[in-house]
């Protein structure tokens, strides 16, 4: 045995998993069961009272899902994680631990369109108010802080344009404001960026994308960085105050540096209910085993496609942080030296109509509303993912009418470039 800590690829294959003690099964079994038998009445009471570690009911936890959770915690360098049914569910569960009605959080303007909708509309009925800030203007985050601010939310690599966020600068704002920084790391994955190393306190993912990686399963996860002191200012009563639903337990005092993940599980997932299916957990776990290999290929292909488009006469501009002249290239070199991801946008000289015809002429790229699949994908955000935003907000979030978004897969890059070439000249 050596002192060397295992590297990322080793963790991607092994973390959280071990041969099944009973059967010897090497691959993590799918524990497709709703519930788990107690040893006796005292064991049941201990589990319900959070006094013992163990399984009760799959809405609260499941052994297959637990392997996925531990693996993601290890890959992100966090203390613990909680898997849920989707990326959106992860966002609800996180904010439910942090905000009371009338509270606020600050979010970067450049986000997945669905997140902008969720924050603007769905959360309004919970009394959670979002204040928008511009990730390219750090001072706009500082200006948005008020006494009711409870969190800051950003994407590491932002959907749809693949822009890179200065995580450390915004982490400083969060620290000065005494609030946690939440980073949606979906488009980067921990292979490219580990936000906790840059000062984030909580990481969320849509596992649906590169982590699952094959476009076959929805999932989401919350990773607890273990970095935030929830009890310091009594701003976070879910973590620092006695919880009536657990007869007066204080979550942080009891669970220390993985208290946030436990709060998400026993106060969030337990009561809101968006549990991940064990089958989906299994599919996503299998995907994660090849994450490093896939991300290398995704990034290599994306750079080649972006370079091709940048040189094409029908293309007005390409937004890919991996390109030398790109506005975000400096940030990409700092935060994502292994590659700038595989989701980016470009705009066509022919505007909206050219975008629509490109999408219909492509033969290998699939026209659909997802990213992070082995298959290459294309979409016109203005008419789909970002269609509910007004025109101004579309442009500000990088989804103007002339913009086409690509998610580059792991096919042969020559075939992807060939498909784009024929569609652009058709």
């Amino acid at each position: 045995m050596t002192d060397r800590l295992p590297g990322f690829s080793t963790l991607a294959v092994h973390a959280g998993a071990q041969p099944d003690p009973t059967t010897g099964a090497r691959v993590t079994p799918i524990y497709q069961t709703t519930s788990f038998v107690f040893n006796d009445a005292d064991h049941a009471a201990s589990l319900f009272g959070l006094q013992a570690f163990g399984n009760i009911y799959t809405r609260i936890g499941n052994p297959t899902t637990a392997v996925l959770e531990e693996r993601m915690a290890a890959l992100e360098g966090g203390t613990a994680a909680l898997a849920v049914a989707s990326g959106h569910a992860a966002q609800v569960v996180v904010l439910q631990q942090l905000l009371m009605p009338g509270d606020e959080f600050i979010a970067a303007r450049k986000l997945y369109g669905g997140s902008i909708n969720q924050f603007t509309h769905a959360f309004k009925s919970f009394g959670w108010n979002v204040a928008w800030a511009d990730p390219d203007d750090i001072a706009s985050f500082e200006r948005a802080v008020t006494p009711r601010t409870k969190a800051i939310f950003i994407e590491s690599i932002a959907n749809p344009a693949g822009s890179i966020t200065d995580i450390e600068a915004i982490a400083d704002v969060a620290r000065n404001a005494g609030v946690p920084l939440i980073v949606d790391n979906t488009l980067a994955t921990p292979y490219l960026i580990r936000p906790i190393d840059h000062g984030a306190d909580i990481v969320v993912h849509s596992l649906t994308k590169f982590l699952g990686g094959h476009g076959n399963s929805l999932g989401g996860i919350i990773v607890d960085g273990g970095t935030f002191d929830w009890s310091k200012e009594n701003k976070y009563p879910m973590l620092s105050e006695p919880r009536p639903e657990y007869h007066g337990i204080r979550i942080q005092e009891t669970f220390g540096n993985f208290a946030f993940a436990i709060a998400c599980r026993v106060l969030g997932l337990r009561d809101l209910g968006p549990a991940l299916s064990p089958f989906n957990a299994f599919m996503i776990l299998t995907g994660i085993e090849t994450l490093p290999l896939r991300m290398q290929k995704h990034c290599e292909n994306a750079k080649a496609v972006a370079e091709f488009l940048a040189g094409h006469p029908a293309v007005a501009s390409v937004n890919y942080a991996g390109l030398a002249g790109d506005k975000y290239n400096q940030l990409a070199r700092k935060y994502a030296p292994k590659g700038a991801g595989a989701v980016f946008t470009f705009s066509l000289r022919g505007g909206y109509d050219a975008g629509v015809s490109l999408v219909s002429n492509l033969k290998l790229f699939s026209h659909l509303a997802n990213v992070g699949d082995t298959r290459s994908l294309v979409i016109h955000p203005a008419s789909t993912t970002h269609s509910q935003l007004d025109d101004d907000a579309k442009v500000r979030s990088g989804a103007g009418p002339d913009v086409v978004r690509l998610s580059i897969g792991i096919e042969d890059k020559e075939d992807l470039i060939g498909d784009l070439a024929q569609a652009l000249s058709a």
Partner: protein, 194 residues
């Protein structure tokens, strides 16, 4: 001794070798962290002794409270201190009057007093600070993985079959896996425990 990060084998060695544990600050209230840890460790076979002058005359899971360490009246292997950092030194001073001395002084999650640790170590006592023996037991047995916690261990070996639903072996062949450097940094920066 580096008290910022402990080697798994150091913790494993302690939890495998001690048999009796006196818990200073044990609470009979069943939602207090000390109660959780007391019960968990008792179920795993440790001979637990609750120490709390405020509860003498009562019992904790069938074990009578004693007022102080000197009242235990028999040798103990480990003293688990469930008090905040400011209250550690007097307890360590009391420990150092015991004969024989215990093998280990363990300070709970959030509690750390480097001067007290140095004093105890000078007397040949092993010290653990700012950790919970329940969490460390659960981590090394991998039982804590059921809660999605990063156990920071990896193993390709078949784990021992659980006994009465409990994973009791701390001797899983494992390698350290997955640093949580950021959280260790946070723990260090943290002011007083609650």
């Amino acid at each position: 001794m580096n008290h910022d990060a402990y080697d798994d084998n150091y913790i494993r060695g302690i939890l495998n070798s001690v048999k009796s544990i006196a818990m200073v600050g044990a609470s009979p209230v069943n939602v207090r962290p000390s109660y959780f840890a007391f019960k968990y460790l008792a179920q795993r076979g440790y001979d637990m002794i609750p120490v709390n002058p405020g509860h003498v005359g009562k019992q904790l899971l069938g074990k009578p409270f004693v007022a102080s360490l000197t009242d235990i009246g028999r040798p103990v292997d480990m003293i688990d201190i469930f008090r905040s950092s400011a209250h550690i030194m007097p307890v360590v001073d009391e420990v150092l009057t015991l004969s024989p001395l215990p093998k280990v002084i363990w300070m709970q999650l959030g509690a750390r007093d480097d001067a007290a640790a140095e004093k105890a170590e000078a007397a040949g006592i092993k010290v653990v600070m700012n950790r919970c023996p329940k969490i460390e037991y659960g981590r090394l047995s991998s039982e804590i993985s059921w809660m999605g916690v990063n156990s920071r261990t990896l193993s390709s070996k078949r784990a021992p079959i659980p006994t009465q639903g409990m994973r009791l072996s701390l001797n899983r062949m494992s390698v350290g896996g997955g640093a949580t450097a950021a959280s260790d940094r946070a723990a260090k920066n943290k002011s007083e425990p609650t």
